[in-house]
Every structure is written in structure tokens, then in C-alpha cells.
């Protein structure tokens, strides 16, 4: 059963990976992705950010994405941790960790989970720039990245 968590507190990627593989002897590969807050977006300096989510639906959406990954690739386990609330440049926002027997499945599933999370999980970023606060706009490139998984492309 994939482990999904939404929290304000920072996470420790090492501990999450250790928890994913604890007691297992069938894992040959762990692929992880960690997303961080950058100090620049759309050409403007970003000093702070707040992440809002839809409690309940967000967790369900992440669980659904993990279930799709498990159905699509031969994986051992998955883990997704996403932060909400106030964040600053350099802070980690999201961790996706995928374990499998071989690296190919783990790499592909990790990218799939991130692409779907970006376009389907109800989170919204509001950033602070020198001009004031603004909501981050969704990117067409994220939609394209998610779409390629349904076109029989990679993976």
C-alpha cells in the first residue's frame, strides 16, 4: 500500500527512503525525486511561497496516482510526501520515492507520478515577488508532460 502524506513540516529524504526499503530484500532499485522552491520564477525574484491544498481530495488524488503507477509498472512500493503552508527558496516541497526490482520501472514510475501530481493533485502555489503576491499559473508544458503517458510513449 503506497504511503502518501501531506504535511507542513519538513521531511528527511533519507528517512523516507529507509522506510520504503525497510525489511525488504526484493528491492534492487529506488528512484527518488525531490522538488525544491527556487528563488526565481517567470523572471522574477521569489522570496517566499505558500502552498494551499484541498484536504481530503489531495490525499485521494495522490493515492490514485500511486495506484495507477502500481498497475502500470512492476513496482515494490511507492512513497509521496508533499508539503503545504509557508515555504522559502531552497526548501524541499515534494518527495517521490519508488522501489522496484530493476531501475527502469523505478525511473519511469517516479517521473510518471511527478507528471501526474503536477497536473492532477489539488495544490496551488502563491509566491511573493518584489511586485507583491501572485498565484502561480499552471504551465502548458506540465500538461504536455502528463499527456505523453497516455499516448503510449515512454514507459
Amino acid at each position: 500500500m503506497p504511503h502518501v502524506r501531506v504535511q507542513e513540516a519538513p521531511f528527511d529524504a533519507g528517512r523516507e527512503i529507509a522506510a520504503l526499503t525497510e525489511g525488504r530484500r526484493d528491492v534492487g532499485a529506488v528512484a527518488t525525486f525531490v522538488g525544491l522552491v527556487r528563488d526565481l520564477n517567470e523572471g522574477d525574484a521569489v522570496s517566499r511561497m505558500t502552498l494551499e491544498h484541498y484536504p481530503g481530495m489531495t490525499e485521494r488524488a495522490l493515492e490514485d496516482i500511486c495506484a495507477q503507477a502500481l498497475a502500470r509498472w512492476d513496482l515494490v512500493d511507492l512513497r509521496v510526501v508533499h508539503r503545504v503552508g509557508p515555504l522559502a527558496p531552497g526548501d524541499a516541497i515534494v518527495l517521490v520515492a519508488v522501489s522496484s526490482a530493476h531501475r527502469g520501472e523505478a525511473f519511469a514510475a517516479c517521473e510518471f507520478v511527478m507528471d501526474y501530481l503536477k497536473t492532477r493533485a489539488p495544490f496551488w502555489k502563491k509566491e511573493v515577488t518584489p511586485a507583491g503576491e501572485r498565484w502561480v499559473e499552471a504551465r502548458e508544458s506540465d500538461d504536455e508532460a502528463a499527456r505523453r503517458w497516455s499516448e503510449g510513449g515512454t514507459g
Binding site: 502552498l51 484541498y54 481530495m57 485521494r60 508533499h82 503536477k118 492532477r120 493533485a121 496551488w124 502561480v136
Partner: protein
């Protein structure tokens, strides 16, 4: 009655996070509900104007204009998501 939730920029634009509304008469759907919201004053008609890019979830599952509604449903409106 159904519960409406608004998130992020939509919540700010409407100055409303949550409200209870009566279902439109007939066979209510997300589409007929949005028409009723659009018939409200300026902020609402503007936020739900044709061509505005918003998403909707019914009982925490992504939905569309044709999704049917029943009493007690939770209907959430929000802008395209930007997590990760």
C-alpha cells in the same frame, strides 16, 4: 442543499471559501449549478464567465459540466493546479 468549496485564486476573487446552496430545479448538474452561480452579481458572473479556466470536483473526484448533483454533495471549484 450542496456544499460549495472554493480554493486559491478563485476563493480570493469571490471572497468566499465555503457556502451551502440549494440545488437548481430539475435534473441538477455541475453545468446547471454554474449557470445559477453565473446569474449572481458581478464577482460571480465574472469568475464563471464563459472562457474562464476553472476546474471542478464533486465529492473529491474530478468532474465536468455534465456530472449530476444530488443533495449532500461537496462541489469544489478551483483554478488549474500548480503543486510539485
Amino acid at each position: 442543499m450542496v456544499t460549495l468549496l472554493y480554493f486559491a485564486s478563485l476563493r480570493e476573487r469571490l471572497d468566499c471559501a465555503r457556502e451551502q446552496v440549494a440545488l437548481p430545479a430539475g435534473t441538477p448538474t455541475v453545468g446547471t449549478l454554474v449557470e445559477a452561480l453565473r446569474a449572481r452579481d458581478g464577482r460571480w458572473s465574472e469568475a464563471f464567465a464563459p472562457g474562464r479556466d476553472w476546474r471542478v470536483a464533486v465529492n473529491q473526484q474530478m468532474a465536468g459540466a455534465a456530472t449530476p448533483l444530488k443533495p449532500g454533495d461537496e462541489v469544489a471549484f478551483f483554478p488549474p493546479v500548480t503543486g510539485g
